[in-house]
Amino acid sequence: MPLLPTLVLLPFVGAFVALCMPGGSRTRPAAAAAIATLAALLLTIAQFGRIAGGEVLRMRAAWLPEAGLDLVWRMDGLAWLFSVIVLGIGLLVLVYARYYMSRDDPLARFFACMLAFMGSMLGVVLSGNLIQLVVFWELTSFTSFLLIGYWQQRNDARRGARMAFTVTTAGGLCLLAGMLILGHIAGSYELEAVLAAASRIQAHALYPAALVLIALGALTKSAQFPFHFWLPHAMAAPTPVSAYLHSATMVKAGVFLLMRLWPALSGTEAWTWLIGGAGLCTLLLGSFYAIFQHDMKGLLAYSTISHLGLITVLLGIGTPLSVIAAVFHTMNHAIFKASLFMAVGIVDHETGTRDMRILRGLGKAMPYTAALAVVASAAMAGVPLLNGFLSKEMFFAEAALVGGTEDWSLAVAATLMGIFSVAYSLRFIGVFFGPLAQDRLPRPAHTVHEPPRWMRFPVECLVVLCIAVGVLPQRTIGDVLAVAAHAVLGPGMPEYDLAIWHGVNLPLLMSGVALLGGCLFYVFLRRRANLRQRTDVPLLHRLKGAQAYENVMQWLSLGAAWLIRWTATRRLQPQFRILVVVLVAAPLLLARPLPDWPRLQLADFDPRFASLWLIGAACAVAAAWKAKYHRMAALVMVGGTGIATSISFLWLSAPDLALTQLMVETVTTVLILLGLRWLPLRRQPAALAGPAPASTQFRRGRDLLLALAGGLGLAALSHVVLTRPAGRSISDFYVLRALPEGGGANVVNVLLVDFRGFDTMGEITVLGVVALTVYALLRRFRPAPESVAIPLQQASDADPAVGQTPAQQAGSGYLMIAGVYMRALLPVMGLVAAYFFMRGHNLPGGGFVAGLIFATALIVQYMVAGTDWVENRLRLRPHRWIASGLGIACGTGLGAWLVGYPFLTSHTAHLTLPLLGEIHVPSAFLFDLGVFLAVVGATMLILVALAHQSLRSHRLPAGSGRAPAPSALPPTKEIQ
C-alpha cells in the first residue's frame, strides 16, 4: 500500500467506521477514531528517519492528465511536521472529547466529522499539487463548517458555522483562482515545478494578481485582519473542536500555505506589504481584543488570531531566520493553545460556564487543572523556560532587525503585542485565583472538582511538552525544526541557535518590558477601566467585522432580490414582450449583411388575391379586437382567416395543405367550442366602457408598436424571400424520384410517408402525446364554479327543448329532422374518408385528411344525440387506435429490416390479380394507415374527453342548486 495516500485515507476510513457505530455509546466511536489516528500517527513518525535524511516522499497517481493534473502526494519536512501536529494533537483531542462530549450528543457524527476534517487537513499538508491542495483546503472548510455547527439547534452555532464557511470558502475560491494563475505562469500545477519557477513567477505580469488571490485564501483561513471576525464566532463549536481546529490545525492551514509557497512568492515588496501588513494589524488588534473578552474561549480565540498574526508577520518579513521563527512558533502555539482550550473545556464542563466575570477561585476546586492552565498561559504570555518564550524571542529579534537602525516601529509593535498578551494571559488565569464565587455559578459549587483522569491527560501531555521544549529546545525539537525549516528554505538555511540564553540583548529587553508592562497594564485596566464589567472594547469598538459580514450578506440578498425584481418577471406578458423585442432586434443586430431590400413591384399585384387577403387580414385584426369580451365572435373571425389561408393554399398549388387546413379548421372550431363551455363568460365591466386610463393606453400603445414591428418584420422577410431568385434546392430530387422510386405521383404525400416518413412518425406521436395529456388532464378536471351548472341556454324556459335529454332532442325534438341528415351522412363521410385515404399517394389526400374526416364524421354523431347515446352503441376505444396507429407505422418501418433495408424504406408490392389486373400496394400505404389510425384515435380522444365533461354536470341531482361546488361533481365518465 502506498504510504501517503494511506495516511490521508486512514482518517476517512476511521470517519466512516465511527459513523457506523451505534448511537448512545461514547467509547466505541471514539475508539474507532483514535485507533485510526494512532495508526496514522505511528506511520508518520516512523518516516522521520527518511525525512531527516533529506528524502522527500512522493507518490503520484494520474487523475486528469489532459490538464496536467495528477494526484501528487508529497511529504517533506514541513509536511511531516504539520502531519505530526495534525495527528498528534488530533489524537489527544479525541481522547479528551471522549470525556468532554455528552452522552446525549450524536457522537458518531462528531467523531466522523473530526476524522474527516483530520483527513482533509492531512490532504492539504501532503498535497504535492496546487489544485489538489485546493481540493483538500475546501474540504477542511466544509468539515469545519459541520463541526462548528455541530450543536445545530443553537442559533450561535449555526451563525458561527455559516460565517466561518462563507469566509473560508470565499477565500478558498480566491485561492483556487490564484493557484490557477500560478500554475498558468509556472506551466504546471506541481508544487515542485512551481517552487522552482520562483523568479519567473515574480517577474510575471500576473504575479500581483496571483499573490493577492493566494493571500486572500491564506488570510481568510488563518483569520487575519480584516477577515479575523469569523474565528470568535466559531467558538460556538464544542471545545474539542476549538482546541483542534481553531488553535492547532485549520487556522494553521493559512500559514502553512504561506510557508509552502514562500520560496515562490516571497521576497518582493508586494509580499512584504501584503502579508506583513495584514499580520501586523492582526497581531495588534487580536491581542488588544483578547484582553476585553469575557468568554474564556473568546479570549483564546483573539489570542489565536494575534499569534497567527505573529506568524504571518514573520513570514512577511521574509528573512530565512524569520521563517524558522515562524515554523517554530507554529509548533509552540499549537501545543500551548490546544492545552489551554482543553483546560477551558474542563472548566466549562465542571462549572457550566466560561464567563470570566463569574468564575473565580477555581484553583481551589481543581488545583491540578489550574496548575496546568497557568503553565500553558505562561507559555502563551512568553514567560521564560516555556516554549512560547523561545519563539517570541526570535520574533522580537526579527522585528527589531527589520527597520534597521532608523525604523523601530515594528519593534514597538512587537513589544506592544507582548504587553497585551501578558495582560490577557493574566486575565485568563485570573479565574483560578481568589475566592470561589459560589452563588453565581450555574452549578452548585461543591460539584466543581477535577475532571476524570483521562480527560486531563491530554492537557498534561501538552503542558509537559511546553516545558520540555522550553527547557531543552534543541534536544526536544531541534531536529524537527531544522528539517521543517529546511523544507521551506532549502539550501539557504541560515545558522541559528535554539538556546534559552543568548545573553542580555534587545529581544530579552523587549521581553522584560512586555512582561512588566503587561502586568502593569492589567492592573491598570482592572483598576481604572472597569475591565471586568465593560461590554465593549475601548477605542476599537466600532470595528465590528461580524456586523460588516452580516451587512454584506444582507446587502447581497437585498441586491439579488432587487436584481431579480428588475431583470426578471414571473408574469407571462412581459416575457412575451421581451421575446418580441428580441425577435425583432436580434436579427437586425447580428445578421451581416442584411439582405437587400427588394423594390415593391406592383406589376404582379393581383386584386383578386388581394381581396382574398383583405378578408383574411380584416378577420385577423377583428379577432384581435374582439377576443377579450366576445370569444365566440373572435373564434368566428379566426375562422375567416382560416378560410383565407386554406383558399390561398389551394390557389397557390398546395391542394394537400388546403384539404388539411380545411379539416383542421373544422375540428379546431369544434374543439374550442367544447372548451368554451367551461370558460365562464367575461362581460365587459361598465366601468371600462369609457376611455381607458393613461396607463392602459400606454400599455396598448406599446403592444401595438411591438405587434407592428413583429408583423412588419415577418412581412419584410417574406417579401425578401419571395423576390429572391430561387436557388439550388434539394426539392428537385423529390419531384424527380417520387413516382419512379417512391411509387406515388403526389410528391407531397411521398415526402410525408417515404422521403421524410421519420417526420411523420414524430408528428403522429405528438398528436398521440397531446391526446394522452388532454385525457389525463381532463380526468382531473375541476371546472370553474361558474360553469359547473348547466348552461344558461338550457335553463331558460323560453326554449321547449330545455327539459329534454340529448336522446329525446335527437329522437323527437328539434334535432329530429336535422338528425336524419346528419346520421345519413355518417356512411357517406366514411366513404369519403376512405376515398381520400386511398388516393393520397397519388393525389391530394392521405392518412391525415382521411383521419380527420373520419373523426369529424363520428363527432357529428356525438353532436346529434349526445355522448351517452353514441357510446351505448359504439365502443370507440381511442387509446387502442392511437396505440395501433403508432404500432403499425413503426412496424411498417421495421418491416424493412426483415429484408435488410433501413427503417422506413418503402417497398411496393406489385400484385397481379385475376379480373382486377395489376395492383400496386406500396408499404407506404400501410404506414399511412398507421397515420390514419393515430389521427382518428388522437382526435377522438381529445374531443370525447372534452365532451365527457358535460356529462358530469348533467348527472348532478336535479335539485342541487344552480352552481354546485366543482368538487361535488361526479367523476368523469371513462372513455371506452
Binding site: L739, G757, T773
Partner: protein, 536 residues
C-alpha cells in the same frame, strides 16, 4: 449497412414502441407499466453504451455513424447521426431516465394516467433530438419532447402546476413558431435542411442569401435559447421547475441542455471559423449567470433554487460555447453532464427533504388534496430512521458541492478544467472576456454555496424538531445512483476527459461530417426498379 448500424435507431424506437404499448393500459397495471418502461430505459442505456463504444471504437470512420432512414441518400432523406457527443447525450438521458423512473415507481407513476407513456415519449423526443441530422426533423423531435413534457409537467394536477404550465406551454409554443420561422429561412437561403449539407453549402452562399441565412440562424437560436433559458428568455424555467413533480423536473433539467446541445452542434458545423453570433452568446450567457446567481440568492423555495441553479449552469454552458475556444468544449461537456446529474439529484431530493419540514403524513394528506386525486397512491413504507436524515443531509451536501463547484466532486473538476482551458488558450493571450467569465463562474459558485448553505442550514439544522422522514428504497436509490455517477465522473475524470476530448475534436471537424453524411451510400436495390408505377 450492418446489423450494428440499426443500433442508431434503438434510442428512438424503443421508447416509441414501449410508449405505444403502454397507451392502452390506462388504469391499474402499475407493475406491468413500470416493468415495461424500465425495460425500455434499460434497453436505451444498453444501446447508448453500445453507441458510445462504437463511436469511440473505430467502428465507423471518424467515429461518425450515419443512418439513412427510409434509405434515401443524405440531403434528401432524413439522416440520423451518432458521434461521441450524441452518444454522451444519449447516455446521460438514459442514466437520468433510469433514476427518474425508478424514483417515480412508488408514487408519481401511479398518480393519474399515462405517466409511463408520456415518459417514454419524452425520452423518444429527447433522443431523437440528439440523433437527428435534419433541421426540420429536429423540430419534430423537439415537439415530441415538448408535448410529452407538457403532459408531464401537468402530471399531478394542481393549481400551481397549471399556472406554471400555462406559462411553460405558451412560451414554448411561441418558441416552436420561432423554430419554424428559422428553419424556413434557412431552407430559403440554402435550399436544404440536412445539417451537413448546410455546412457544405455555407461557403457558396451569395451575400444576400448569407444575410437571410444568418437571420434564420438567429431566429432559430432564439428558439434554442428559450429552451436553454438564456436571460432574458428563460423566466419560465424556475417557475416550471418549482411546480413540476420531482421525476419530471429531473428530466426537465436535461431538456434545458438540449437547446445548448443544438446550438453547439449547429454552430460548430455551420460557422466553424466565422463564429457568427458568438459574442451575443457569450455576453448573454454571462448575463444568465448573473441572473441565475441572483435568483439563487433571492429564492426561498427549494424548487426555485434548483431552477436558478439550472439557469446558472445553462448560462455557464452558453457563455463557454460563445467564447468559441475549441479546447473549452471538452470541459463544457463535462460540466454539462455533471451539473445535469447534480441538479436532477437535487430535484429528486427536494421531495424527500420536504418530508422533514412537516411530518410526513400531513404532507401526503395535503398534497393528495392538492392533486385532487381520487386514487390513493401506496403509502411509502420506509421506516423513519436517523440514517434517513444522514442520507438526506449528506446527499444534499453532495448536490450542493457539485452545483456550486466545490471540491471534491465533479462540479469542481468541471470548473477547474474550464479555468485551465481559459487560462491556457492555444493562441496564448487571454481575452478580457475570459477573465470576466472566470470571475463570474467563481462568483456564481460562491453564490451557490451561500444559497445552498442557507437552505441546508434552515432545513437540516434550524429545524431541530423534525422527525426522521420515511424514505423508501426506490426513492433513495436513484439519488444515490446520480450522486454515484458524479463520484464516478470525479474519480475517472482522466478517462472521461480523454473521451470528451476526442468528442470535442470530432465535432470541431465539420469536414468529417460532410464527408461521412453526404457520402453514406444507400442500400442498393436487389433487383432493378420495376417500371414506374402508373400515375392517374
Amino acid at each position: 449497412m450492418t446489423p450494428l448500424d440499426h443500433l442508431l435507431l434503438a434510442p428512438v424506437l424503443l421508447p416509441l414502441l414501449c410508449g405505444a404499448v403502454l397507451v392502452p393500459l390506462t388504469e391499474g397495471w402499475h407493475r406491468l407499466k413500470f416493468a415495461l418502461g424500465y425495460a425500455s430505459v434499460l434497453g436505451m442505456l444498453a444501446s447508448a453504451l453500445a453507441l458510445a463504444a462504437l463511436t469511440d471504437g473505430g467502428y465507423w470512420q471518424h467515429g461518425i455513424g450515419v443512418y439513412l432512414a427510409a434509405n434515401w441518400a443524405a440531403p434528401f432523406g432524413i439522416a440520423l447521426v451518432a458521434d461521441r457527443l450524441a452518444a454522451l447525450m444519449l447516455l446521460l438521458t438514459a442514466l437520468l431516465a433510469l433514476a427518474a423512473l425508478h424514483f417515480a415507481r412508488l408514487r408519481w407513476g401511479r398518480i393519474g394516467v399515462h405517466f409511463h407513456s408520456l415518459f417514454q415519449f419524452l425520452l423518444m423526443g429527447i433522443n431523437g433530438a440528439f440523433l437527428t441530422h435534419d433541421l426540420f426533423n429536429l423540430f419534430v423531435f423537439f415537439e415530441v419532447m415538448l408535448a410529452a413534457s407538457y403532459g408531464l409537467v401537468l402530471h399531478g394536477y394542481n393549481a400551481e402546476r397549471l399556472r406554471a404550465s400555462m406559462q411553460y406551454i405558451a412560451i414554448n409554443l411561441a418558441a416552436s413558431l420561432l423554430f419554424l420561422i428559422g428553419a424556413a429561412l434557412i431552407y430559403a437561403a440554402a435550399g436544404t435542411l440536412n445539417m451537413s449539407d448546410l455546412a457544405a453549402r455555407m461557403a457558396g452562399l451569395a451575400p444576400g442569401a448569407r444575410g437571410l441565412f444568418e437571420i434564420g440562424a438567429t431566429v432559430l437560436a432564439l428558439a434554442f435559447l428559450i429552451k436553454s433559458a438564456m436571460w432574458p428568455l428563460g423566466f419560465w424555467l424556475p417557475t416550471t421547475y418549482a411546480a413540476a413533480s420531482p421525476p419530471v423536473a429531473a428530466m426537465l433539467v436535461l431538456m434545458t441542455k438540449v437547446g445548448a446541445y443544438a446550438i453547439l452542434r449547429l454552430w460548430l458545423l455551420l460557422f466553424p471559423q466565422a463564429g457568427f453570433g458568438h459574442d451575443a452568446l457569450l455576453w448573454g450567457g454571462m448575463a444568465t449567470i448573473v441572473f441565475g446567481a441572483a435568483g439563487m440568492l433571492s429564492s426561498d423555495n427549494a424548487g426555485r433554487l434548483a431552477g436558478y441553479g439550472a439557469v446558472v449552469s445553462s448560462g455557464t454552458l452558453l457563455a463557454v460555447i460563445g467564447y468559441g475556444q475549441a479546447t473549452l468544449v471538452a470541459g463544457a461537456l463535462y460540466y454539462l453532464a455533471g451539473s445535469t446529474l447534480a441538479i436532477a439529484a437535487f430535484l429528486l431530493l427536494i421531495e424527500l427533504i420536504e418530508r422533514i419540514r412537516t411530518p410526513h403524513a400531513s404532507v401526503l394528506a395535503v398534497t393528495l388534496e392538492a392533486w385532487a386525486v381520487e386514487d390513493k397512491p401506496d403509502e411509502p413504507v420506509g421506516r423513519g430512521v436517523p440514517a434517513a436524515m444522514a442520507f438526506l443531509a449528506l446527499s444534499f451536501a453532495a448536490c450542493a458541492m457539485v452545483i456550486a463547484g466545490l471540491p471534491p466532486l465533479s462540479g469542481f473538476v468541471a470548473k477547474f478544467s474550464l479555468f485551465h482551458a481559459l487560462l491556457n488558450p492555444p493562441q496564448g493571450t487571454i481575452a478580457a472576456a475570459g477573465w470576466t467569465l472566470m470571475a463570474l463562474i467563481i462568483g456564481s459558485g460562491l453564490v451557490s454555496v451561500l444559497s445552498m448553505m442557507r437552505f441546508g442550514v434552515r432545513t437540516f439544522w434550524a429545524n431541530s424538531g423534525a422527525a426522521p422522514p420515511k424514505l423508501h428504497r426506490s426513492e433513495v436509490l436513484p439519488v444515490l445512483f446520480l450522486l454515484g455517477l458524479s463520484v464516478f465522473m470525479t474519480v475517472e475524470a482522466g478517462s472521461v476527459f480523454a473521451w470528451l476530448d476526442r468528442a470535442s475534436e470530432g465535432i470541431h471537424r465539420p469536414q468529417d461530417y460532410i464527408g461521412r453524411v453526404l457520402g453514406q451510400p444507400v442500400v442498393p436495390s436487389p433487383v432493378p426498379q420495376p417500371a414506374a408505377a402508373e400515375a392517374p
